[in-house]
Symmetry: C2
Subunit: 152 residues, 2 copies
DNA sequence: TCTAGTAAGTCTTGAAAGTGCACTGAGTCA
DNA sequence: TGACTCAGTGCACTTTCAAGACTTACTAGA
């Protein structure tokens, strides 16, 4: 199987990865969540090859994760902003950041803290069950075929 | 910047991505969470090139995300199991799956459902604040430098 | 003993992506 | 006019990936 066939898989993870699963895309999105919006800013902060950046941004726009918004005329210049769909990736991103904090932060502690503006405290993200509200652990979850499953 | 320099970045996301950020690794982990453990099973289910699979598994073992466990002697054969560190990736994975469900499931619905064994219901993962317990939205979070930040 | 089968890789080779950097194009500013 | 800004493109080069045959070490059956 080649990578560009992934989106035909009947698996939501595969489809999500077809959009954001390559090496640079999540870093681009991290910057986007940090309010970076312009091509040269992304490029300077990430040190990514310009060609690859252009391609990734275009792909994210195609997928509706980012949108291009003109911020000046003469010459027309566009910036990239997260859409609602893009904002929906935040839980996944934050979970990854916390995982990185837990396992790779030095003894000084995590490089970035996140403050929950609603309550005013620095926090970790906790994944909870939408039904009972309790924290969810991998061992307490069973996956089973849903309505969109294909039979084998 | 080349990819293999990423783990030197003082960013937890970059470090996390240096481990699980390539195209196949998260799919390998998806299978691992579905209790797949053997080389040939991973290979058959994913259709991944054997060489790439061998390399990814070795990397995940190096990083302590998976561990090799002998399940027979003569000849010695190993299987790959998630460690605690590996299980810690579940929230990120599940968040991604739900994002995929939301945006890419056909009209039939998601291909896979997740049941929370503690309460017995199919659920979605909700990211909540570890301090106040409320659901967290991207717009309600401010990132600021932590103790491990490097000054520029 | 010979043959087939199983499981976990390893090797080979052409194709695809990524990298680094110079360059373009449209416009501003002095 | 010349220098500068920003968002990309073009190009030569290097690295990684894909597909499948091959290897190693052992078991089971004829």
């Amino acid at each position: 199987m080649r990578w560009d066939e992934l989106d035909r898989e009947a698996c939501s993870l595969a489809r999500a990865l077809a959009v954001i699963g390559d090496r640079w895309t999540l870093l681009v999105l991290r910057e986007a969540f940090l309010r970076v919006r312009r091509f040269d800013d992304f490029q300077a902060r990430l040190g990514i090859a310009r060609r690859v950046l252009a391609e990734r941004l275009a792909h994210l726009v195609d997928e509706g994760v980012l949108k291009k918004v003109a911020y000046q005329d003469r010459p027309v210049r566009y910036e990239y902003r997260l859409t609602e769909k893009g904002l929906g990736l935040y839980p996944a991103l934050l979970s990854l950041v916390h995982w990185g904090d837990q396992h790779y932060a030095g003894r000084k502690g995590p490089p970035v803290l996140h403050r929950h503006l609603a309550c005013g405290h620095d926090f970790r993200g906790v994944l909870t069950c939408s039904v009972c509200g309790e924290a969810v652990e991998a061992r307490e979850v069973a996956a089973h075929p849903g309505p969109g499953a294909k039979r084998r």
